[in-house]
């Protein structure tokens, strides 16, 4: 088998058992002597393309700082039926607002979040921490030393983002649907 194909196969196999995003560096380390990170990235890209073809039930995603293998979104119905699971609960409007705030302004404290939303968000944060979408990033050195919150890797995975820099820019957000009050 060609070296390139062997590397592709190996990457695919590792992603299939990893359970969470894998960085290319870790793949290069176990791929054997002389395999570079660039070669691994190229191989992963090949595997990704392969699964884009019709008839594949899987996708290769760049999320949460690494690569992972996942099922295609379009099979949700039968998949849940098979696993006997109910559909994953959507985040509440409040939850989405808090995530939207923390994602763009992290690390950020509860009082700052409350101010932006105009309403207390303590309970929402609790839920988001339980869902592992938010984590504590330390304390702010101001009066009362409030806890600072950040988004987690699980947040990136949940929203299919490779990293925080891939969040849609606020300009992009501006152009997204919704009659705004501030005009366009």
């Amino acid at each position: 088998m060609s070296e390139t194909l062997r590397l592709q196969a190996l990457c695919e196999a590792i992603l299939a058992v990893a359970r969470e995003p894998v960085v290319a560096e870790a793949l290069a380390e176990v791929a054997g002597e002389g395999v570079t990170v660039a070669e691994v990235e190229a191989a992963l890209e090949q595997v990704r393309c392969k699964h884009e073809a019709e008839g594949s039930g899987l996708v290769v995603e760049r999320v949460g700082g690494g690569w992972r293998l996942a099922t295609r979104a379009e099979h949700e119905g039968p998949l849940r039926q098979f696993l006997g699971l109910r559909s994953r609960a959507r985040l509440s409007q409040a939850g989405l607002e808090v995530l939207a705030i923390v994602a763009y302004r992290q690390p950020i404290t509860l009082p700052e979040i409350n101010f932006l939303r105009g309403v207390s968000s303590a309970a929402v944060i609790r839920t988001l921490i339980d869902r592992k979408l938010l984590a504590v990033a330390g304390r702010k050195q101001v009066v009362g030393t409030p806890l600072l919150y950040r988004t987690t890797r699980e947040f990136l995975v949940h929203f299919g983002l490779p990293d925080l820099a891939s969040l849609p820019s606020l300009e992009e957000v501006e152009h997204v649907a919704g009659e705004g009050v501030s005009g366009t």
Partner: protein
């Protein structure tokens, strides 16, 4: 969650359709949009009245009204009254400036939340592939990067809880369920009626040791008060309690 539903309230729609505004800013944004006015030139008097009207309706419907709604209500009133006052010469600060700024910021938050909701919707069906590994990775192992101080604190709380369960306190002191006073009265009654009461058999047949002990203390108190006498022919034999004829003097009984 439909803010527009608030309009329907007056039209005698069922109360349950009432709005869930995420907060006062959400409600204000809704009003600005409903009135089709520019956010840069908000007719404060009108918006303020409508805001109060919505709050009243929410109160009528017994909705739990967050304190923030009321704080904002008084803020609006303050802005309204400042607008009515002639502004000092040379000062051109618009009293509405901060309100506008906060509404614009909050609108950005809402838009971003909508974008996130859209992404979430598209990605709902995606499941991570997790084939069996040759060496099953422990599910409980964590990437250090995923551990924050809260996870650390939770681990300690769980551990202390486990420790407490595994090391229950050495001796449990049950609450007093029997009162010596009550038992004295009960025993005096028995002794008076039966002339000679088999105390030991009685003690040994109580279902609970605590009750037996209370009975024994009560018996000793009866003897001390002179209302009963105790007799035992030999060691381990029955203990007979007999009445002496002296009436029970409860007031002589100390703090038992």
């Amino acid at each position: 969650m439909d803010p527009a539903a608030v309009e329907g309230v007056q039209a005698a729609r069922p109360a349950v359709v009432l709005p869930a505004f995420e907060g006062p800013l959400d409600l204000l944004l809704h009003l600005v949009r409903e009135n089709k006015v520019s956010i840069w030139d908000i007719p404060i008097a009108r918006i303020c009245d409508q805001y109060h009207a919505v709050l009243e309706r929410m109160e009528e419907l017994d909705l739990e009204l967050a304190g923030e709604f009321l704080v904002t209500a008084s803020w609006l009133l303050a802005i309204k009254s400042r607008l009515l006052l002639p502004r000092p010469e040379g000062e051109d600060d618009d009293p509405r400036a901060e309100l506008v700024e906060r509404l614009i910021e909050y609108e950005k938050v809402k838009r971003t939340a909508a974008v996130l909701a859209g992404i979430e919707e598209v990605r709902r069906g995606i499941e991570a592939v997790s084939l069996e590994a040759p060496e099953a990775p422990s599910e409980r192992e964590l990437d250090l990067a995923d551990v924050d101080i809260i996870a650390l604190g939770q681990a300690l709380r769980a551990l202390l809880e486990r420790h407490r369960r595994e090391h229950p306190p050495a001796m449990e002191v049950p609450p007093m369920r029997y009162s010596v006073r009550e038992k004295i009265v009960e025993l005096f009654d028995l002794v008076t009626r039966q002339r000679s009461f088999p105390l030991l058999s009685h003690l040994l047949t109580r279902p609970e040791r605590l009750e037996s002990v209370t009975f024994l203390v009560a018996a000793l108190e009866l003897v001390r008060l002179g209302s009963a006498e105790m007799h035992q022919r030999q060691a381990f034999a029955e203990i007979h309690l007999t009445a002496t004829g002296t009436p029970l003097a409860m007031e002589a009984l100390g703090d038992v």
